[in-house]
């Protein structure tokens, strides 16, 4: 599975560099592994991209250990200036984020980093990842408008500098109608939607869940909806993840 591109890569292929990827998950099935996969891909030796990671959910050590098992050393990437890790977990910094100025400050940091990177090396591709939008909402004290503004600003970055923006959020939070605006807006912004769900039949040891990938960019380029929707199942391991079509466990 490692050497060739897997189903997830295939489904996300032809995504232009300046697009938005939205990962949705739920309590039963975490979608964080898609984030890990994209982290690894953008930090791989073949690509020369810069990764800006905004961590709201887990500390650096957590990601470091996971990515090390996937074969990517985050500490080294940090030293090589290919990874910028913004730790937004600690409360003293979250105070700073609370309210409008906090998210502003965060955006300015990101904006500055993106600008610097695009100035120094013209061809460098930039990836921005935010690991939990729902926690960002908490940091903004429930002011969804601020979060939306933030995302819109980041979205302009993607068009201006050709960044890839990857955000993770939890879908089941927004099942109630009145809170759904932010999810709908994010889904509208997203060029690729990745949805992680548990199996409808319940837990199984060899199938950990299913992924639905909706690739809007595919459909644009071809003018038809071919390859638009991908649906497959996955099984996670420490060092990799397996993706397979339902009923064809490889």
């Amino acid at each position: 599975m490692e050497r060739t591109s897997n189903l997830l890569d295939e489904a996300m292929a032809e995504t232009p560099n300046n697009s938005v990827v939205l990962i949705e998950d739920c309590v039963e099935t975490s979608g964080a592994f898609v984030l890990h996969h994209l982290m690894k891909r953008s930090l791989s030796p073949q690509s020369s991209s810069l990764l800006i990671f905004v961590a709201f959910a887990h500390p650096f050590s957590h990601y470091d250990r996971i990515l090390r098992k996937l074969g990517c050393n985050l500490v080294m990437q940090k030293d090589n200036k290919r990874l910028l890790f913004f730790d937004m977990l600690m409360p003293q910094r979250s105070d700073e984020v609370a309210g409008k100025t906090g998210l502003h400050a965060l955006y300015h940091k990101i904006h500055k980093a993106v600008e610097m990177a695009s100035l120094s090396e013209s061809n460098k591709h930039i990836v921005i990842m935010i690991d939990d939008i729902s926690v960002m909402e908490i940091a903004a004290n429930g002011c969804t408008d601020d979060v939306l503004d933030f995302l819109h600003y980041c979205h302009t970055l993607t068009t201006q500098f050709g960044c890839l923006l990857v955000v993770l959020t939890h879908e089941d939070i927004y099942s109630v109608a009145d809170r759904a605006t932010i999810l709908l807006q994010m889904e509208y912004l997203g060029d690729v939607l990745v949805k992680a769900e548990p199996l409808p039949t319940g837990l199984a040891t060899d199938v950990h869940g299913q992924l639905t990938v909706l690739n809007k960019s595919n459909c644009n380029s071809l003018g038809s909806s071919r390859n638009k929707m991908h649906n497959f199942q996955f099984r996670l391991k420490e060092s990799s993840a397996e993706y397979f079509y339902p009923g064809s466990l490889s």
Partner: protein
């Protein structure tokens, strides 16, 4: 580290306490995590070792029944037995009085009853290990140090905790009613954690917060503040070696906020009482008479790894063994003809996900 790695096989249960001559009640787990015991041996087993240090455990309460208290009591008592500092917050006016209801470990006082008990519960190997340990490590000097040798004790719910446990160490109690807002509570927690880290870094701390969003706390209109409290608590817990157990009545929250809380939990459990005279259920489940409630495991903390834990079962029955010990058991479902037919139908239509399992092996 190495010492725990080498210990295997028959000694595993008792010797989890070996590295704990300095750090009582800690056990090394996979991926660089360290476990503390939940105080319920079965729950530890289900969760793969216990609650990992740095995790936030949330328990969804049954609003009609106090089953979450059983979990909290055992969790707190286990901490006292291991001489770990404890912070307890509850909406009661006098939270300290709750300490009087903590159960005491069954394995205390005279060794004879203890050995007898253990012999009943497991094989002889444990007793050998126990006696071996007595010759080996530092000599146990008093009763409660005998008890300390175990990573996880059995608690006798009918026997109150010894006085010396309650007096001997730092136990902080906070009434949530007196916390005018969440930040005071958070300050309590962070000072508790930082004090502990100054004094003794090897010792794990325990925070137990009971019925966090209950109406008595007057937090009900502060949804976002509560969330940000939990988020801050989670991050300070993660950075220190402590475990927090927070129980909350999920039914009082709106469904979207309840989901947010659940997402913030590292380990998520829920408890539910069962009706006395539920004939339907009694017919379905064997051993229904002894059950006092059901425990659901929704989420198991995954630190430093992306592989989810897939449990064999997520629902367990809570039973009181000999009316004293809390045990968790898998539900034993009595086969019912009518339902088995329909369940076959669903597995057939589910696009082979369950079929593929059998093909793989």
């Amino acid at each position: 580290m190495a010492a725990t790695k080498t210990r295997t096989s028959s000694f595993s249960r008792n010797f989890s306490a070996v590295p704990s001559s300095r750090t009582p009640g800690l056990k090394n787990g996979p991926n660089g995590t360290v476990f503390v015991s939940s105080g319920i041996p079965d729950l530890d087993k289900i969760l793969g070792g216990g609650f990992p240090l740095g995790s936030l455990v949330m328990v969804m309460e049954d609003s009609d029944a106090p089953h979450h208290m059983l979990l909290l009591r055992n969790f707190m008592s286990q901490g006292l037995v291991h001489n770990q500092p404890l912070l307890y917050a509850s909406p009661a006016k006098e939270p300290r009085s709750f300490l009087g209801t903590l159960p005491s470990p069954s394995t205390s006082k005279d060794d004879k009853t203890r050995d007898h008990d253990v012999g009943q519960l497991s094989e002889n190997g444990l007793r050998i290990a126990w006696q071996y340990k007595k010759y080996f490590g530092e000599q146990p000097t008093s009763d409660h140090q005998n008890v300390k040798l175990e990573y996880c004790n059995e608690f006798d719910l009918r026997k109150p905790q010894d006085r010396h446990f309650l007096n001997g160490q730092r136990i902080e109690c906070i009434s949530l009613r007196e916390c005018s807002n969440m930040s005071t509570l958070l300050d309590h927690c962070s000072t508790f954690l930082s004090q502990r880290q100054e004094s003794n870094t090897t010792c794990a701390g325990r925070i137990a917060i009971q019925s966090f969003c209950s109406p008595q706390c007057h937090f009900s209109d502060l949804d976002w503040d509560m969330l940000s409290f939990i988020r801050s608590l989670k991050s300070i817990i993660r950075a220190s070696n402590a475990v927090a157990v927070l129980s909350f009545p999920a039914s009082l929250l709106s469904s979207s906020f309840s989901k947010r809380w659940q997402h913030l939990a590292d380990t998520l459990l829920s408890v539910r009482a069962i009706q006395d005279e539920d004939k339907e259920l009694a017919k379905l489940l064997t051993g229904y008479q002894d059950m006092i409630g059901l425990l659901n495991v929704h989420k198991v903390a995954r630190f430093n790894t992306q592989v989810p834990v897939i449990l064999d079962a997520t629902t367990f029955s809570m039973k009181l063994q000999k009316r004293r010990f809390l045990v968790l058991e898998c539900l034993n479902q009595a086969p019912v003809d009518g339902s088995s037919g329909s369940s076959y139908g669903t597995t057939g239509s589910c696009s082979g996900s369950s079929k593929t399992g059998s093909l793989d092996f």
